[in-house]
Protein backbone atom coordinates (compact mmCIF):
# COMPACT_ATOMS: atom_id res chain seq x y z
CA UNK A 1 0.00 0.00 0.00
CA UNK A 2 2.83 2.41 0.82
CA UNK A 3 4.57 1.45 -2.39
CA UNK A 4 1.44 2.22 -4.38
CA UNK A 5 1.22 5.61 -2.68
CA UNK A 6 4.81 6.47 -3.52
CA UNK A 7 4.47 5.26 -7.10
CA UNK A 8 1.35 7.37 -7.56
CA UNK A 9 3.00 10.43 -6.13
CA UNK A 10 6.03 9.97 -8.33
CA UNK A 11 4.02 9.43 -11.50
CA UNK A 12 1.79 12.43 -10.79
CA UNK A 13 4.48 14.68 -9.31
CA UNK A 14 3.72 17.45 -11.78
CA UNK A 15 0.07 17.47 -10.76
CA UNK A 16 1.08 17.52 -7.11
CA UNK A 17 3.40 20.43 -7.77
CA UNK A 18 0.91 22.52 -9.70
CA UNK A 19 -1.78 21.75 -7.16
CA UNK A 20 0.41 22.94 -4.30
CA UNK A 21 1.16 26.10 -6.25
CA UNK A 22 -2.52 26.62 -6.86
CA UNK A 23 -3.27 26.18 -3.14
CA UNK A 24 -0.65 28.72 -2.16
CA UNK A 25 -1.29 31.28 -4.87
CA UNK A 26 -5.01 30.75 -5.26
CA UNK A 27 -5.85 31.16 -1.58
CA UNK A 28 -5.12 34.84 -1.43
CA UNK A 29 -6.02 35.66 -4.98
CA UNK A 30 -7.43 39.12 -5.32
CA UNK A 31 -6.14 40.38 -1.97
CA UNK A 32 -3.58 43.16 -1.87
CA UNK A 33 -1.14 41.49 0.48
CA UNK A 34 -1.44 38.11 -1.22
CA UNK A 35 0.72 35.40 0.27
CA UNK A 36 1.86 37.84 2.96
CA UNK A 37 -1.42 37.11 4.71
CA UNK A 38 -0.05 33.79 5.80
CA UNK A 39 2.41 35.74 8.00
CA UNK A 40 0.18 38.60 8.90
CA UNK A 41 -2.69 36.45 10.13
CA UNK A 42 -0.83 34.50 12.82
CA UNK A 43 1.04 37.65 13.77
CA UNK A 44 -2.17 39.54 14.37
CA UNK A 45 -3.46 36.61 16.38
CA UNK A 46 -0.28 36.63 18.43
CA UNK A 47 -0.61 40.35 18.98
CA UNK A 48 -4.13 40.00 20.33
CA UNK A 49 -3.13 37.24 22.74
CA UNK A 50 0.00 39.13 23.73
CA UNK A 51 -2.12 42.10 24.73
CA UNK A 52 -4.94 40.23 26.42
CA UNK A 53 -3.33 37.35 28.23
CA UNK A 54 -0.77 39.13 30.36
CA UNK A 55 -3.79 40.91 31.83
CA UNK A 56 -5.51 37.63 32.67
CA UNK A 57 -2.56 35.51 33.69
CA UNK A 58 -0.76 36.85 36.71
CA UNK A 59 2.75 36.04 35.63
CA UNK A 60 3.66 35.22 32.06
CA UNK A 61 6.92 34.07 30.60
CA UNK A 62 9.59 36.76 30.26
CA UNK A 63 9.54 36.94 26.45
CA UNK A 64 5.86 36.26 26.24
CA UNK A 65 5.32 37.37 22.64
CA UNK A 66 8.13 35.15 21.36
CA UNK A 67 6.84 32.38 23.56
CA UNK A 68 3.44 32.79 21.88
CA UNK A 69 4.73 32.98 18.32
CA UNK A 70 6.62 29.71 18.67
CA UNK A 71 3.40 27.89 19.54
CA UNK A 72 0.92 29.82 17.42
CA UNK A 73 2.69 29.24 14.10
CA UNK A 74 2.63 25.43 14.28
CA UNK A 75 -0.89 25.59 15.71
CA UNK A 76 -1.96 27.74 12.80
CA UNK A 77 -0.39 25.22 10.43
CA UNK A 78 -2.34 22.47 12.18
CA UNK A 79 -5.75 24.14 12.06
CA UNK A 80 -5.35 25.35 8.48
CA UNK A 81 -4.46 21.90 7.24
CA UNK A 82 -7.20 20.15 9.19
CA UNK A 83 -9.98 22.51 8.15
CA UNK A 84 -8.92 22.81 4.51
CA UNK A 85 -7.99 19.17 4.30
CA UNK A 86 -11.36 17.98 5.51
CA UNK A 87 -13.22 19.74 2.71
CA UNK A 88 -10.68 19.24 -0.05
CA UNK A 89 -12.28 16.22 -1.70
CA UNK A 90 -15.71 17.78 -1.54
CA UNK A 91 -14.41 21.07 -2.92
CA UNK A 92 -12.72 19.38 -5.86
CA UNK A 93 -15.72 17.20 -6.62
CA UNK A 94 -16.17 18.56 -10.13
CA UNK A 95 -12.87 17.33 -11.38
CA UNK A 96 -12.92 14.08 -9.42
CA UNK A 97 -16.03 13.03 -11.28
CA UNK A 98 -14.51 13.56 -14.67
CA UNK A 99 -10.93 12.41 -14.69
CA UNK A 100 -9.02 9.69 -12.98
CA UNK A 101 -5.86 10.48 -11.05
CA UNK A 102 -4.78 9.37 -7.61
CA UNK A 103 -7.26 10.96 -5.26
CA UNK A 104 -4.78 11.30 -2.43
CA UNK A 105 -3.14 14.12 -4.40
CA UNK A 106 -5.67 16.54 -2.90
CA UNK A 107 -5.23 15.89 0.83
CA UNK A 108 -1.48 15.63 0.37
CA UNK A 109 -1.20 18.92 -1.48
CA UNK A 110 -3.17 20.67 1.28
CA UNK A 111 -0.65 19.43 3.81
CA UNK A 112 2.31 20.28 1.59
CA UNK A 113 1.15 23.80 0.88
CA UNK A 114 0.52 24.15 4.62
CA UNK A 115 4.03 23.07 5.52
CA UNK A 116 5.52 25.47 2.98
CA UNK A 117 3.55 28.34 4.46
CA UNK A 118 4.59 27.25 7.93
CA UNK A 119 8.28 27.10 7.04
CA UNK A 120 8.12 30.55 5.49
CA UNK A 121 6.37 31.92 8.54
CA UNK A 122 9.14 30.43 10.68
CA UNK A 123 11.39 33.14 9.28
CA UNK A 124 9.28 35.61 11.21
CA UNK A 125 9.72 33.46 14.29
CA UNK A 126 13.49 33.67 13.77
CA UNK A 127 13.25 37.46 13.82
CA UNK A 128 11.46 37.29 17.14
CA UNK A 129 14.11 34.96 18.52
CA UNK A 130 16.88 37.30 17.41
CA UNK A 131 15.31 40.55 18.60
CA UNK A 132 14.20 39.16 21.95
CA UNK A 133 17.78 38.16 22.58
CA UNK A 134 16.95 34.47 22.98
CA UNK A 135 18.93 33.45 19.91
CA UNK A 136 19.51 29.92 18.76
CA UNK A 137 20.99 26.81 20.21
CA UNK A 138 22.21 23.63 18.54
CA UNK A 139 19.00 21.84 19.58
CA UNK A 140 17.22 23.33 16.58
CA UNK A 141 18.62 20.37 14.66
CA UNK A 142 15.54 18.55 15.99
CA UNK A 143 13.32 20.95 14.08
CA UNK A 144 13.00 18.92 10.84
CA UNK A 145 12.09 15.84 12.84
CA UNK A 146 9.32 17.64 14.72
CA UNK A 147 7.92 19.13 11.50
CA UNK A 148 7.93 15.71 9.89
CA UNK A 149 6.10 14.30 12.87
CA UNK A 150 3.46 16.98 12.67
CA UNK A 151 3.16 16.39 8.94
CA UNK A 152 2.56 12.65 9.36
CA UNK A 153 -0.08 13.10 12.02
CA UNK A 154 -1.94 15.76 10.06
CA UNK A 155 -1.81 13.67 6.91
CA UNK A 156 -3.27 10.72 8.76
CA UNK A 157 -6.08 12.84 10.15
CA UNK A 158 -7.06 14.44 6.85
CA UNK A 159 -6.91 11.18 4.95
CA UNK A 160 -9.74 10.06 7.18
CA UNK A 161 -11.67 13.32 7.53
CA UNK A 162 -11.54 14.28 3.85
CA UNK A 163 -12.90 10.89 2.83
CA UNK A 164 -15.55 10.74 5.54
CA UNK A 165 -16.72 14.26 4.77
CA UNK A 166 -17.83 13.10 1.31
CA UNK A 167 -20.28 10.67 2.89
CA UNK A 168 -21.27 12.52 6.03
CA UNK A 169 -21.06 16.23 5.53
CA UNK A 170 -21.35 17.01 9.20
CA UNK A 171 -17.78 15.88 9.57
CA UNK A 172 -16.36 19.31 8.85
CA UNK A 173 -18.44 20.99 11.55
CA UNK A 174 -17.66 18.32 14.09
CA UNK A 175 -13.97 18.55 13.24
CA UNK A 176 -13.98 22.32 13.52
CA UNK A 177 -15.54 22.06 16.94
CA UNK A 178 -12.92 19.56 18.07
CA UNK A 179 -10.13 21.72 16.74
CA UNK A 180 -11.34 24.74 18.67
CA UNK A 181 -11.66 22.61 21.80
CA UNK A 182 -8.20 21.25 21.26
CA UNK A 183 -6.90 24.79 21.31
CA UNK A 184 -7.64 24.93 25.02
CA UNK A 185 -6.23 21.47 25.66
CA UNK A 186 -2.96 22.53 24.09
CA UNK A 187 -0.51 24.74 25.93
CA UNK A 188 -0.30 27.60 23.47
CA UNK A 189 -1.17 30.63 25.54
CA UNK A 190 0.17 29.19 28.76
CA UNK A 191 2.63 26.58 29.81
CA UNK A 192 1.67 22.99 30.40
CA UNK A 193 2.90 23.27 34.01
CA UNK A 194 -0.08 25.40 34.89
CA UNK A 195 -2.24 22.32 34.71
CA UNK A 196 -0.01 20.20 36.90
CA UNK A 197 -2.14 18.43 39.47
CA UNK A 198 -5.45 19.46 37.93
CA UNK A 199 -8.13 17.09 36.70
CA UNK A 200 -7.41 17.69 33.03
CA UNK A 201 -3.66 17.29 33.25
CA UNK A 202 -3.90 13.89 31.55
CA UNK A 203 -5.54 15.53 28.56
CA UNK A 204 -2.49 17.65 27.88
CA UNK A 205 -0.19 14.72 28.57
CA UNK A 206 -1.79 12.48 25.95
CA UNK A 207 -2.54 15.19 23.41
CA UNK A 208 -0.07 14.59 20.59
CA UNK A 209 -0.40 18.15 19.34
CA UNK A 210 0.51 19.41 22.80
CA UNK A 211 3.56 17.17 22.78
CA UNK A 212 4.60 18.53 19.40
CA UNK A 213 4.04 22.16 20.41
CA UNK A 214 6.01 21.60 23.59
CA UNK A 215 8.81 20.19 21.51
CA UNK A 216 8.93 23.35 19.37
CA UNK A 217 9.08 25.39 22.56
CA UNK A 218 11.81 23.21 23.96
CA UNK A 219 14.09 23.66 21.00
CA UNK A 220 13.43 27.36 20.35
CA UNK A 221 12.45 28.93 23.64
CA UNK A 222 13.91 26.82 26.42
CA UNK A 223 16.72 25.53 24.20
CA UNK A 224 16.71 22.08 25.71
CA UNK A 225 16.49 18.67 24.12
CA UNK A 226 12.80 17.83 23.63
CA UNK A 227 11.19 14.87 25.36
CA UNK A 228 12.42 12.23 22.95
CA UNK A 229 10.54 9.43 24.63
CA UNK A 230 7.18 11.13 24.17
CA UNK A 231 8.05 12.19 20.63
CA UNK A 232 9.02 8.60 19.87
CA UNK A 233 5.64 7.41 21.07
CA UNK A 234 3.90 10.09 19.01
CA UNK A 235 5.90 8.99 15.98
CA UNK A 236 4.78 5.40 16.42
CA UNK A 237 1.17 6.48 16.86
CA UNK A 238 1.56 8.77 13.84
CA UNK A 239 2.84 5.99 11.60
CA UNK A 240 0.09 3.65 12.75
CA UNK A 241 -2.53 6.34 12.25
CA UNK A 242 -1.11 7.17 8.82
CA UNK A 243 -1.45 3.55 7.81
CA UNK A 244 -5.02 3.36 9.09
CA UNK A 245 -5.85 6.70 7.47
CA UNK A 246 -4.58 5.58 4.10
CA UNK A 247 -6.52 2.35 4.40
CA UNK A 248 -9.73 4.19 5.20
CA UNK A 249 -9.09 6.58 2.32
CA UNK A 250 -8.48 3.71 -0.10
CA UNK A 251 -11.70 2.08 0.95
CA UNK A 252 -13.83 5.20 0.76
CA UNK A 253 -12.31 6.71 -2.41
CA UNK A 254 -14.07 4.09 -4.52
CA UNK A 255 -17.38 5.78 -3.90
CA UNK A 256 -16.27 9.40 -4.28
CA UNK A 257 -17.54 9.91 -7.81
CA UNK A 258 -20.95 8.52 -6.92
CA UNK A 259 -21.40 10.38 -3.66
CA UNK A 260 -20.27 13.79 -4.83
Amino acid sequence: MMKELLNNLYAYRQLLKSNVQKEIRGKYKGSFLGVLWSFVNPLLMTLVYAIVFPLILKDTEPHYITYLVIAILPWNYFTTVISQGTTTILGNGGILKKVYFPREIFPISVNLSGVINFLISCLVMCLFLIFSGIGFSWVIIFFPFIVLLQFIIQQAIIFITSAVDVYVRDAEYIINFFVSMLFYATPILYSADMFAGSSIEWLIKINPIAIIINAYRDIFYYQTIPDMQMLGIVLLIGILLFYIGLKVFRKLEKGFAEEL
Binding site: K98, Y100, R169, E258
Partner: protein
Protein backbone atom coordinates in the same frame (compact mmCIF):
# COMPACT_ATOMS: atom_id res chain seq x y z
CA UNK B 1 3.55 -6.83 -26.35
CA UNK B 2 3.80 -7.96 -22.78
CA UNK B 3 0.12 -8.45 -22.26
CA UNK B 4 -2.24 -10.26 -24.47
CA UNK B 5 -5.03 -7.88 -23.64
CA UNK B 6 -5.10 -4.16 -23.03
CA UNK B 7 -8.43 -4.18 -21.26
CA UNK B 8 -10.04 -7.14 -19.54
CA UNK B 9 -13.53 -6.77 -18.16
CA UNK B 10 -14.57 -9.82 -16.20
CA UNK B 11 -18.17 -10.42 -15.14
CA UNK B 12 -18.67 -6.81 -14.22
CA UNK B 13 -21.93 -5.62 -12.74
CA UNK B 14 -22.58 -2.11 -11.63
CA UNK B 15 -25.55 -0.83 -9.78
CA UNK B 16 -26.20 2.65 -8.60
CA UNK B 17 -28.09 3.52 -5.53
CA UNK B 18 -31.30 5.26 -6.38
CA UNK B 19 -31.76 7.66 -3.57
CA UNK B 20 -35.08 9.35 -3.33
CA UNK B 21 -34.08 11.71 -0.62
CA UNK B 22 -30.45 11.51 0.09
CA UNK B 23 -29.54 11.39 3.78
CA UNK B 24 -26.61 13.75 3.84
CA UNK B 25 -26.41 14.73 7.43
CA UNK B 26 -25.60 12.72 10.47
CA UNK B 27 -29.01 13.38 11.95
CA UNK B 28 -30.73 11.97 8.92
CA UNK B 29 -28.40 9.00 8.83
CA UNK B 30 -29.16 8.26 12.47
CA UNK B 31 -32.88 8.88 12.25
CA UNK B 32 -33.36 6.89 9.09
CA UNK B 33 -30.78 4.20 9.55
CA UNK B 34 -33.33 1.42 9.83
CA UNK B 35 -35.57 2.70 7.08
CA UNK B 36 -32.80 2.66 4.53
CA UNK B 37 -34.41 0.02 2.37
CA UNK B 38 -37.54 1.97 1.86
CA UNK B 39 -35.66 5.05 0.79
CA UNK B 40 -32.94 3.58 -1.35
CA UNK B 41 -33.49 1.59 -4.47
CA UNK B 42 -31.05 -0.04 -6.76
CA UNK B 43 -30.58 0.51 -10.43
CA UNK B 44 -28.51 -2.05 -12.20
CA UNK B 45 -26.74 -0.42 -15.10
CA UNK B 46 -24.43 -3.22 -16.15
CA UNK B 47 -25.20 -6.88 -15.75
CA UNK B 48 -22.42 -9.41 -15.82
CA UNK B 49 -20.49 -7.85 -18.67
CA UNK B 50 -17.31 -9.50 -19.91
CA UNK B 51 -15.15 -7.99 -22.59
CA UNK B 52 -11.57 -8.40 -23.71
CA UNK B 53 -9.83 -5.83 -25.84
CA UNK B 54 -6.48 -6.52 -27.44
CA UNK B 55 -3.74 -3.92 -27.72
CA UNK B 56 -4.10 -1.93 -30.94
CA UNK B 57 -7.79 -2.63 -31.35
CA UNK B 58 -10.21 0.18 -32.05
CA UNK B 59 -13.52 -0.66 -30.48
CA UNK B 60 -16.78 1.24 -30.65
CA UNK B 61 -19.42 0.91 -27.96
CA UNK B 62 -22.85 1.55 -29.41
CA UNK B 63 -26.33 1.43 -28.03
CA UNK B 64 -29.23 3.66 -27.15
CA UNK B 65 -29.07 6.25 -24.39
CA UNK B 66 -29.03 4.75 -20.91
CA UNK B 67 -27.77 1.38 -22.01
CA UNK B 68 -24.64 1.63 -19.90
CA UNK B 69 -21.96 2.57 -22.44
CA UNK B 70 -20.65 5.56 -20.57
CA UNK B 71 -20.79 3.70 -17.28
CA UNK B 72 -18.58 1.05 -18.78
CA UNK B 73 -16.08 3.70 -19.87
CA UNK B 74 -16.11 5.29 -16.44
CA UNK B 75 -15.44 1.91 -14.89
CA UNK B 76 -12.47 1.43 -17.20
CA UNK B 77 -10.95 4.76 -16.14
CA UNK B 78 -11.42 3.94 -12.45
CA UNK B 79 -13.58 6.96 -11.77
CA UNK B 80 -16.16 4.55 -10.44
CA UNK B 81 -15.70 0.97 -9.33
CA UNK B 82 -17.70 -2.15 -10.21
CA UNK B 83 -20.17 -3.58 -7.74
CA UNK B 84 -19.10 -7.04 -8.81
CA UNK B 85 -16.43 -8.36 -11.09
CA UNK B 86 -13.04 -7.07 -12.03
CA UNK B 87 -11.45 -4.78 -14.58
CA UNK B 88 -7.80 -5.04 -15.52
CA UNK B 89 -6.02 -2.39 -17.54
CA UNK B 90 -2.60 -3.03 -19.00
CA UNK B 91 -0.97 0.19 -20.10
CA UNK B 92 -1.21 3.92 -19.62
CA UNK B 93 -4.74 5.09 -20.04
CA UNK B 94 -6.21 8.46 -20.88
CA UNK B 95 -9.86 9.20 -20.93
CA UNK B 96 -11.65 11.94 -22.76
CA UNK B 97 -14.95 11.64 -20.98
CA UNK B 98 -15.50 15.28 -20.57
CA UNK B 99 -13.36 17.83 -22.29
CA UNK B 100 -11.70 20.53 -20.30
CA UNK B 101 -12.20 18.91 -16.92
CA UNK B 102 -10.13 20.91 -14.52
CA UNK B 103 -9.58 23.92 -16.72
CA UNK B 104 -9.13 26.95 -14.58
CA UNK B 105 -10.92 29.93 -16.13
CA UNK B 106 -8.47 32.53 -14.85
CA UNK B 107 -5.38 30.75 -16.11
CA UNK B 108 -4.16 31.25 -19.65
CA UNK B 109 -4.52 28.59 -22.29
CA UNK B 110 -0.86 27.75 -21.92
CA UNK B 111 -1.07 27.38 -18.12
CA UNK B 112 -4.13 25.22 -18.54
CA UNK B 113 -2.26 22.96 -20.93
CA UNK B 114 0.26 22.34 -18.18
CA UNK B 115 -2.36 21.80 -15.53
CA UNK B 116 -4.60 19.63 -17.67
CA UNK B 117 -1.75 17.49 -18.95
CA UNK B 118 -0.47 17.01 -15.41
CA UNK B 119 -3.86 15.58 -14.48
CA UNK B 120 -3.20 12.97 -17.14
CA UNK B 121 0.02 12.15 -15.34
CA UNK B 122 2.61 13.96 -17.45
CA UNK B 123 5.70 15.58 -15.99
CA UNK B 124 6.76 19.14 -16.75
CA UNK B 125 9.51 17.97 -19.11
CA UNK B 126 7.09 15.79 -21.04
CA UNK B 127 4.65 18.66 -21.35
CA UNK B 128 7.40 21.03 -22.50
CA UNK B 129 8.05 18.68 -25.38
CA UNK B 130 4.43 18.57 -26.43
CA UNK B 131 3.25 22.07 -25.76
CA UNK B 132 4.16 23.23 -29.28
CA UNK B 133 2.21 20.42 -30.90
CA UNK B 134 -0.76 21.03 -28.65
CA UNK B 135 -0.93 24.74 -29.44
CA UNK B 136 -0.50 24.08 -33.14
CA UNK B 137 -3.20 21.42 -33.14
CA UNK B 138 -5.62 23.65 -31.28
CA UNK B 139 -5.11 26.46 -33.86
CA UNK B 140 -5.48 29.00 -31.10
CA UNK B 141 -2.47 31.02 -32.16
CA UNK B 142 -1.95 34.12 -30.06
CA UNK B 143 -5.03 33.45 -27.96
CA UNK B 144 -3.08 30.78 -26.12
CA UNK B 145 -1.75 33.39 -23.69
CA UNK B 146 -5.18 34.78 -22.89
CA UNK B 147 -7.21 33.53 -19.94
CA UNK B 148 -9.45 30.61 -20.82
CA UNK B 149 -12.55 32.45 -19.61
CA UNK B 150 -12.26 34.76 -22.62
CA UNK B 151 -12.47 31.83 -25.03
CA UNK B 152 -15.49 30.94 -27.08
CA UNK B 153 -16.89 27.49 -26.42
CA UNK B 154 -15.40 26.25 -29.67
CA UNK B 155 -11.94 27.48 -28.73
CA UNK B 156 -12.29 25.94 -25.31
CA UNK B 157 -13.18 22.56 -26.74
CA UNK B 158 -10.42 22.70 -29.31
CA UNK B 159 -7.84 23.35 -26.61
CA UNK B 160 -9.20 20.59 -24.41
CA UNK B 161 -9.23 18.09 -27.23
CA UNK B 162 -5.73 19.02 -28.31
CA UNK B 163 -4.35 18.39 -24.83
CA UNK B 164 -6.13 15.10 -24.41
CA UNK B 165 -5.16 13.75 -27.79
CA UNK B 166 -1.50 14.65 -27.38
CA UNK B 167 -0.78 12.99 -24.05
CA UNK B 168 0.47 9.81 -25.68
CA UNK B 169 -1.43 7.20 -23.76
CA UNK B 170 -1.46 3.59 -24.88
CA UNK B 171 -5.17 3.29 -24.28
CA UNK B 172 -7.57 6.05 -25.18
CA UNK B 173 -11.17 6.14 -24.00
CA UNK B 174 -13.39 8.61 -25.79
CA UNK B 175 -16.98 9.49 -24.99
CA UNK B 176 -19.04 11.22 -27.67
CA UNK B 177 -16.62 13.97 -28.39
CA UNK B 178 -16.04 13.50 -32.06
CA UNK B 179 -18.33 16.44 -32.60
CA UNK B 180 -15.88 19.07 -31.48
CA UNK B 181 -15.60 22.33 -33.32
CA UNK B 182 -16.41 23.05 -36.93
CA UNK B 183 -16.26 20.73 -39.90
CA UNK B 184 -12.61 21.46 -40.46
CA UNK B 185 -11.60 20.70 -36.90
CA UNK B 186 -13.77 17.59 -36.76
CA UNK B 187 -12.02 16.22 -39.80
CA UNK B 188 -8.68 17.03 -38.23
CA UNK B 189 -9.65 15.15 -35.05
CA UNK B 190 -10.81 12.24 -37.09
CA UNK B 191 -7.54 12.17 -39.00
CA UNK B 192 -5.65 12.32 -35.70
CA UNK B 193 -7.62 9.37 -34.38
CA UNK B 194 -6.81 7.43 -37.57
CA UNK B 195 -3.17 8.27 -37.05
CA UNK B 196 -3.28 7.12 -33.41
CA UNK B 197 -4.94 3.94 -34.53
CA UNK B 198 -2.18 3.29 -37.05
CA UNK B 199 0.46 3.86 -34.42
CA UNK B 200 -0.97 0.94 -32.49
CA UNK B 201 -2.96 2.64 -29.74
CA UNK B 202 -5.92 0.92 -28.21
CA UNK B 203 -8.98 3.08 -28.64
CA UNK B 204 -12.41 2.59 -27.10
CA UNK B 205 -14.98 5.02 -28.33
CA UNK B 206 -18.59 5.67 -27.43
CA UNK B 207 -20.45 7.37 -30.19
CA UNK B 208 -23.70 7.71 -32.04
CA UNK B 209 -21.97 8.87 -35.21
CA UNK B 210 -22.30 5.49 -36.87
CA UNK B 211 -20.75 6.47 -40.17
CA UNK B 212 -17.53 7.67 -38.56
CA UNK B 213 -17.46 4.58 -36.40
CA UNK B 214 -17.71 2.35 -39.41
CA UNK B 215 -14.76 4.10 -40.91
CA UNK B 216 -12.61 4.13 -37.79
CA UNK B 217 -13.33 1.01 -35.77
CA UNK B 218 -12.60 -2.62 -36.54
CA UNK B 219 -14.86 -3.91 -33.87
CA UNK B 220 -18.11 -2.79 -32.34
CA UNK B 221 -19.83 -3.84 -29.15
CA UNK B 222 -23.53 -3.27 -28.92
CA UNK B 223 -24.74 -2.76 -25.39
CA UNK B 224 -28.40 -3.09 -24.68
CA UNK B 225 -29.91 -2.70 -21.22
CA UNK B 226 -26.61 -3.30 -19.50
CA UNK B 227 -25.74 -6.43 -21.40
CA UNK B 228 -23.65 -7.10 -24.43
CA UNK B 229 -26.08 -7.89 -27.20
CA UNK B 230 -23.62 -8.27 -29.98
CA UNK B 231 -19.87 -8.12 -30.38
CA UNK B 232 -18.09 -8.35 -33.69
CA UNK B 233 -17.12 -6.64 -36.90
CA UNK B 234 -18.33 -3.04 -36.97
CA UNK B 235 -20.25 -3.34 -40.24
CA UNK B 236 -22.30 -6.28 -39.05
CA UNK B 237 -23.01 -4.97 -35.59
CA UNK B 238 -24.05 -1.56 -36.90
CA UNK B 239 -26.28 -3.21 -39.46
CA UNK B 240 -28.08 -5.26 -36.81
CA UNK B 241 -28.27 -2.28 -34.51
CA UNK B 242 -29.91 -0.15 -37.19
CA UNK B 243 -32.49 -2.83 -37.86
CA UNK B 244 -33.70 -2.54 -34.27
CA UNK B 245 -33.43 1.20 -34.06
CA UNK B 246 -35.30 2.18 -37.15
Amino acid sequence: MKNKYAIIVENVSKSFKLVYDKPFTLKERLVFWNKKNTRVGKHEVLKNVSLKIKPGETVALIGVNGSGKSTLLKLMTKIIYPTEGKITINGKLTSLLELGAGFHPDFTGRENIYFNASIFGLTAAEIDKRVGDIIEFSELGNFIDNPVRTYSSGMYMRLAFSVAINVDAEILLIDEILAVGDQHFQEKCFAKLQELKKSGKTIVIVSHALSSIKELCDRAVWIYNGEIKMDGQTEKVVEEYLKVCV
